[in-house]
């Protein structure tokens, strides 16, 4: 083998290493994206709706949310099935605000979110996709894959249900939806919004 040929062989080898290295990086990025925590879908039952016109007004309001990709409606149950844009940050309070702007309220909100081995327990705070979830009455478990969690904060359930849930927890944070003395502040100086959920 001549020296020149050896050099070519070497550079070719380098290129191959480079290629596989890049492939690994891209694969890692890809994996990162697909396994990153995200709220993918939500099933929202609106309360107080009386007519198709009202339901349409609600749907049109929900459509203006920047993170909403697609909305399917189940008119008979006044339920909106929201699909969120991949990678978008879902703001749960904004969903509620849109329904209220249309003149109605949230009767039930079930989120479908992907988890990657997240351990939960009763009254645990879980940082998830930019939001903090407080699991009420949850059994000790490790969440993996797509899970459905129901938001039970005030104005996300009927007034009657909120009263019922209020009797089940003495924590003042449930009444306000923000961190209170009952919560570990986890280094936060100011009270932060927490969504109370059940699973």
């Amino acid at each position: 083998m001549s020296i020149a040929a050896f050099t070519i062989y070497l550079s070719d080898y380098k290129l191959q290493i480079m290629k596989s290295f890049l492939a690994i990086i891209f694969l890692a990025i890809g994996l990162q994206t697909s396994s990153s925590a995200q709220i993918k879908k939500a099933s929202l039952q609106a309360a107080g709706l009386t007519c198709a016109m009202c339901s349409r007004a609600t749907m049109e309001a929900l459509k203006t949310l920047p993170f909403v990709d697609k909305i399917d409606t189940d008119l008979n149950n006044t339920t909106f099935l929201l699909s969120f844009k991949p990678g978008a940050n879902v703001n749960i309070d904004e969903i509620k605000a849109k329904v209220e702007d249309a003149g109605f309220s949230v009767g039930k909100l079930v989120l479908t979110a992907s988890f990657d081995k997240v351990a939960v327990e009763k009254d645990a705070h879980i940082k998830y996709a930019g939001a903090t979830f407080h699991f009420i009455n949850a059994k000790n478990q490790v969440l993996s894959g797509d899970q459905q969690i129901t938001v039970i904060d005030k104005d996300f359930v009927s007034a009657k249900q909120f009263k019922k849930f209020s009797t089940q927890t003495t924590m003042p944070c449930y009444q306000t939806g923000v961190m209170a003395s009952c919560c570990k502040m986890e280094g936060h100086s100011a009270p932060e919004r927490i969504y109370h959920v059940t699973i």
Binding site: L49, T50, C51, A52, A61, L65, L75, E94, A102, G103
Partner: protein
């Protein structure tokens, strides 16, 4: 199961306590035809109306009025502004209860007695005033709307103060003050089950509309009934038909029967800037 869907509160003769969606816009054209007792002929009134949902709690209507009630040809009479504020809303999946307060102001250029035409069959005898073309003035009141299973029931109580019109003074023999009240019920007939927003809805209504003049100079009252049918196309466009007639009363009126035809179209999300 979803019985709440079947109740309807898009009343024709009154407003429900519920508001239109925030950031939405609507327009209406209401045409009223009524037999005028003094002449025995049919008069008409055209009311173009703009509606705006300012926030989830506040909405306004601006109405223009034109009619041939006071003279042989159609003429612009003035207009009114209506604002409604929803101050209570209790929603449940199968029911809701809402309460709202409203105010209305009206500026009218009309004589209180019409120009008598050739061949008037009766003398003009009318003690009824309204803010829909009859007199300038203002009103305010409370609306409560309740959904009970398949029925949406709404009640209104209001106070009206009539003032001089822009060119004519309010005659002494008419009551300056009146109380209005109403009870309305609505029911959705079709579709039996919802599949899409494109389905045409058919709603029926019955409304009871009362008014009482309270001044000693002309203390009298009436109660009208106004059945209505309504078609809703594309979940955004409305066509209403209503017939209003007196059930009983002792108020002298020049109009006892009114046929109403109304077209309404709604546009949602007029601005998407707001988040």
């Amino acid at each position: 199961m979803p019985a709440f869907l079947h109740a309807q509160e898009l009343y024709v003769s009154t407003e429900p306590a519920s508001n239109m969606a925030a950031n939405s816009f609507g327009f209406r054209v209401t045409n009223r035809f009524f037999k005028m007792e003094h002449e025995g002929v049919t008069g008409m009134r055209i009311e173009p109306e703009l509606m705006w949902g300012i926030s989830k709690k506040l909405m306004v209507h601006v109405v223009g009025l034109a009619s041939n009630q006071m003279q042989p040809s159609l003429r612009f009479e003035g207009g009114s502004v209506y604002a409604k504020y929803r101050f209570l809303s209790n929603d449940d999946v199968q029911s809701h209860f809402r309460m709202a307060a409203y105010v209305k102001g009206s500026v009218i250029n009309n004589p209180f007695v019409p120009v008598m035409r050739e061949g008037a069959v009766k003398p003009y005898d009318n003690q009824e005033l309204d803010l829909e073309g009859g007199a300038s003035g203002f009103s305010g009141g409370i609306i409560a709307t309740q959904l009970i299973h398949k029925l949406a029931v709404s009640a209104t109580v209001g106070y009206n103060r009539f003032l001089n019109n822009t060119k004519d003074n309010l005659p002494d023999y008419l009551s300056d003050n009146a109380v209005n009240y109403s009870l309305s019920a609505g029911y959705l007939l079709l579709p039996r089950s919802y599949r899409s927003y494109d389905q045409t809805n058919l709603n029926i209504y019955v409304e009871f509309l009362g008014k009482a003049n309270t001044d000693a100079v002309s203390r009298n009252q009436y109660l009208d009934v106004a059945p209505a049918i309504q078609l809703i196309f594309n979940s955004s466009t409305r066509l209403d038909f209503s017939y209003r007639t007196e059930l009983f009363g002792d108020m002298s009126r020049n109009v006892f029967n009114t046929f109403t035809l109304r077209f309404e179209h709604n546009i949602f999300n007029i601005s998407t800037k707001r988040k």
